[in-house]
């Protein structure tokens, strides 16, 4: 029997956080966008236990300012690629620098210093990830995907797909379909 579920990741995360923080007897307040405010100083030992406990749920505590900024840059890029129906028509550099209130030069340097990739490559990777989803989950054609992701042409999208994955979009789709058929059998 197969059953479909619908879930709210945000809600799930908040509940997990609440349960864990209460388990450790920590006084806290949950703020928006993945921020937690602690009401009092937390002993190092409890802090690392909490870190371990949250790790199990795939929740990572970021305590270094730079890694927080990197995460914020990544989140902004993902939001830009996923949540807007269309990517911004202004340049990506001014979009990021406006959103984060920092110069693009600074953002771009700190990003490549800490992630082994550049912002430009990271955006391409996220766009191709979205293209993959649109192709297999929503069954869009390449023309539709290229329009949705603001590519100037289907050829440009195909080229970037091939460069990022080493596969053509149609081969990619064939592999996913074959894998799905295998698990059904």
């Amino acid at each position: 029997m197969k059953l479909y579920i619908k879930y709210d990741i945000n809600q799930a995360c908040r509940v997990i956080l609440q349960e864990q923080l209460e388990k450790f007897g920590i006084q806290y307040q949950l703020l928006d966008l993945g921020e937690i405010e602690f009401k009092e100083a937390i002993p190092e030992e409890i802090y690392s236990q909490l870190r371990e406990a949250l790790k199990k749920y795939g929740i990572e505590m970021l305590d270094n300012q730079k890694s927080q900024l990197i995460q914020k840059i990544k989140d902004t890029i993902v939001e830009m690629v996923y949540e807007k129906d269309k990517l911004p028509t202004s340049t990506i550099s001014s979009y990021l620098s406006d959103k984060l209130n920092l110069s693009y030069g600074y953002i771009s340097n700190i990003f490549s210093e800490h992630t082994y990739t550049s912002i430009e490559n990271y955006i391409i990777m996220q766009k191709i990830e979205r293209a993959k989803k649109l192709i297999i989950e929503d069954g869009l054609t390449l023309t539709e995907v290229s329009y949705k992701l603001n590519y100037s042409s289907v050829a440009h999208l195909s080229g970037q797909f091939k460069k990022t994955t080493g596969l053509t979009p149609s081969m990619f789709k064939r592999i996913v379909d074959k894998r799905r058929n295998m698990t059904k059998e």
Binding site: E113, H114, Y116, T117, L167, M171, F172, R174, R179, M182
Partner: protein
């Protein structure tokens, strides 16, 4: 340059001693902080992976032609065990036929590497593979649709 505290764990199973040494040398030259563990064949690898105390690798490089359990057999066994679902598997092959590439991905591999024929290329390929895998790992991307052929 990079002060990342958590290293990337890499494993390699290859029966050819020269290839293992080249791989080791190439990995050493990567800027990314890493731990490499090397095996001479598939059986050694699988015994190690199945040991409960083993720290599982982020990425595993498998040579296809090995005595006592070849790369395809390892791939199959690993993909049948949900304990190993987070491991990215990179297959090393001498073929560049589209059919072989497709079959490998359908069988559960994430990365297909046409064996480079010189050290400079090997370094370049490994750098790209390790980096892209790192992006998938650190950005929580969907491993089920992670394919990279080089």
């Amino acid at each position: 340059m990079i002060k990342d505290k958590s290293p990337i764990n890499i494993m390699l199973a290859d029966d050819d001693e020269d290839d293992r040494n080249f791989f080791n040398d190439a990995i050493k030259e990567l800027k990314i902080n890493n731990n490499l563990t090397v095996f001479k064949n598939g059986r050694e690898l699988m015994d190690y992976l199945e040991h409960p105390n083993t720290i599982l690798p982020h990425i595993l490089f498998l040579d296809l032609n090995m005595p006592s359990k070849n790369g395809n057999e390892c791939l199959k066994e690993i993909r049948q065990n949900s304990k190993f679902k987070d491991i990215s598997i990179a297959i090393y092959s001498t073929s560049s036929a589209e059919k072989d590439i497709e079959e490998t991905f359908v069988g559960g591999a994430n990365i297909y590497i046409k064996k480079p024929n010189d050290f400079t290329n090997l370094k370049k390929v490994l750098k790209e593979v390790v980096n892209i895998n790192w992006q998938f790992h650190t950005s929580g991307l969907n491993k089920d649709t992670f394919f990279f052929s080089i």
